[in-house]
Amino acid sequence: MSASETAIARPASRRLARSKERMERLMFLVPAGVYLVALTIFPFVYSVYLSLHQAKLTKLHRMRFIGFDNYAELFTDSLFLDACRNIAVLTVSSITVEILIGFFAAKVFFSLRETRVGAVLRSASIVPMMITPICIGLIFSYIFNPNLGIANFLLGEIGISPLGWFSDPSLALATVILINSWQWTPFMMLLMLAGLMSIPAEQYEAAEIEGAKWYHIAAWIEIPAIRGIVLVGIILRVIDNLRLFDIVYVTTRGGPGSSTEIVTFFAYKQDFQYFQVGYGSAAAVVILFASVIITAITVKYLRSAEDD
């Protein structure tokens, strides 16, 4: 091989090596790509496809394209609108309760951070988060059972008439919020505790020298310091609440009336009880877009807060 031929061959072999390298890199991405397509992209695309059809699982051969009719029907369906209202109330109330109680719990654990009791209590406090929601639902249906539950027994002991925790329409959603908050307050508490622990000790010392009260410290040092981490917690809890299902399924099944109907339960009923998969898919797509929009707004707010 002449010198000029070698010079031509070298870039060619380099190109070959580079494309081989690229192929190898791509090969590493294939499993993740397949996973993404099979479990995320395809189901999503198929859901959107189904949502544009009148489709019943038991009669898929009679499926027909109806455009956006399912969506139009959804937003005139009083039960779906009740479900949207309920999930909004549930999300805002649960997260508010979780932040308020979580903050004070975090303060207690922060003050006990160097004691053995504090370590033990901290571990014990996260147990609710580790129990599956279906078990939580079952446990609370016994606790709030109108006849045999301990909740009404204790109320009776202090002279209060038994409450219809799940049967009184004005109380049922509040009971679900109570259960949901009980389970997830430790999550907020842990996030805020981590935030508190990241505050430099000098800031506390300076505040003490200045004679600041505890609420001054909370307002001017702690809350600004943990604001970012709390926003992350809010995003995660908003998404969690939008896909809340198990607790409602076990305790109230959306009732009494439509007082605890939520969007996931609505979609579940359409898909798996009535097998109206077109209409159910439309509900699922709406839930997905609502999650994406709410998350995007919160992330935007988070970024602007961080920039400040």
Binding site: Q54, L57, T58, K59, L60, L79, N145, P146, N147, N152, P162, G164, W165, F166, S167, D168, P169, T252, R253, G254, G255, P256, G257, S258, S259, K269, F272, Q273, Y274, F275, Q276
Partner: protein, 445 residues
């Protein structure tokens, strides 16, 4: 109704004339050898499931096939069966389905018609006419027999005989008398902690089915051509959910809450049974599958203190007892059809059916109801048999929209019960929704 009664009487006479209906069968020669095979069954988690499990080993001894019975709740069973069918799943060979789902399952092509299977089986083994007519009809669709109606339930009213006798109260026959009796026992210092009547008020299937259980005795009908004795109950399905009788009935449900146990608005099947069994309510109506539990000291505090009567009716009307229960079907996608069919015809036969009823199953055959041993062990079946013979087969609608329709009505009935809407408003909404539902399926124009 007269025609129905006549037919039931004739059928019963035929069965008795063909005695001994419950003769010993040579199962060894009749059933195949299915060693090494397994038969999986999906069954609702109702109390009779334990009695089914007790029968498994007997069939295993006869044929070598291993039988497994898996129990599921009412809604999950429906969901799992339809999803399995849509995926042509062969995991379960025998499916117990609620009689009212038959249309939905046939349309989804889930069932192998048993009529095509029984071929040269001795008619005495199937003994079709021995099944009580009001449940037998639920195993048929479009003129074809798809399943075997082995798990029939009917409803009667159970009441605390001891308390009624002590108070000198007459057993109620009308809605008004029922409410008066319920009122008497509620918040009465002589009966501390006692409520009058526990109903099935929970949103969804519970309240929806309750509506159908009472509407005919209220003198109403759910749609135009669905009434006891109708020759063509599906000819005109124009809903009558907001008719005067219908709204009155829902108002009755609402008013009865005041005489029910605390939290009664959320009660469903188990809750009302448990409240009665614990001695907390004076009256319930319940499906017959739970009735044996009232005589079981492990489940009941009122053993020997209760009795049964026909369900009440509106003034000037007649009681039309509800019929429900489970039909045993062969999964079209089963790979063990031969073994599964052998199990089905064995299990459903009058002889084995009696054995099953004696250990906690539900009498569904004339021969079982008329059997002296059963009558002695389960004396309440006498009242139940009267209900069984007068029940209206189409009392709960059997068509492909059944599940959805009952759920939608159940939501509105529950809304009226808890006061979220007036009975008129709730039933107007139910009327509108069911009409839309039927229109979307092309059933109504």
């Amino acid at each position: 109704m007269t025609k129905q009664l006549l037919m039931a009487t004739v059928a019963a006479s035929v069965v008795l004339a063909a005695a001994p209906a419950v003769a010993e069968t040579d199962w060894d020669s009749l059933l195949g050898d299915h060693s090494g095979k397994s038969i999986n069954m999906m069954v609702v988690n109702d109390p009779y499931i334990e009695a089914i499990r007790k029968m498994e080993s007997k069939f295993e001894g006869l044929t070598g096939a291993e039988v497994t019975t898996d129990g599921f709740g009412y809604d999950p069973l429906h969901e799992k069966e339809i999803l399995g069918c849509s995926q042509q799943d062969d995991q379960y060979d025998v499916l117990f389905i609620d009689g009212i789902w038959v249309g939905e399952f046939v349309e989804a092509d889930c069932l192998e018609p048993v009529e095509d299977l029984w071929g040269d089986t001795d008619p005495a083994i199937i003994a079709w006419d021995d099944f009580v007519g009001s449940i037998a009809g639920q195993a048929q669709w479009g003129g074809k027999t798809y399943c075997l109606p082995v798990g029939a339930y009917w409803q009667v009213m159970h009441y605390r005989k001891d308390l009624f006798d002590k108070a000198g109260l007459k057993v109620p026959e009308t809605f008004e008398e029922t409410m008066e009796a319920a009122k008497f026992f509620t918040n009465n210092p002589d009966y501390p902690g006692m409520s009058g009547y526990a109903m099935n008020n929970r949103r969804g299937a519970a309240a929806g089915q309750q509506y159908f259980e009472w509407i005919y005795s209220a003198g109403g009908k759910p749609w135009e051509s669905n009434y006891p004795g109708s020759e063509e109950p599906y000819a005109d399905q124009t809903p009558l959910l907001n008719s005067e009788k219908s709204v009155e009935l829902v108002k009755f449900f609402h008013d009865m809450v005041a005489y029910g146990p605390p939290g009664g608005e959320q009660y469903q099947w188990d809750d009302r049974f448990n409240a009665f069994a614990q001695g907390k309510v004076a009256m319930i109506n319940a499906w017959s599958v739970r009735t044996p539990g009232l005589s079981d000291p492990a489940k009941s505090n009122i053993v020997g203190k209760w009795a049964s009567a026909q369900m009440p009716h509106a003034k000037g009307e007649k009681t039309v007892p509800p019929v429900g229960g489970w039909i045993m079907c062969l999964n079209k996608h089963s790979k063990n059809k031969e073994a599964a069919w052998d199990f089905m015809r064995w299990f459903a036969s009058p002889e084995i059916h009696k054995e099953w009823a004696m250990i906690g199953g539900v009498p569904s055959r004339h021969s079982a109801f008329q059997d002296p041993e059963i009558q002695e062990k389960l004396p309440w079946t006498k009242e139940l048999y009267t209900a069984a013979k007068t029940a209206w087969t189409e009392g709960r609608p059997r068509h492909p929209l059944t599940f959805e329709m009952i759920d939608a009505i159940g939501l509105q009935v529950n809304r009226a019960i808890i006061g979220e809407a007036t009975p008129q408003e709730a039933m107007d909404t139910a009327q509108e929704e069911v009409t839309e539902m039927l229109k979307s399926e092309g059933i109504l124009k």
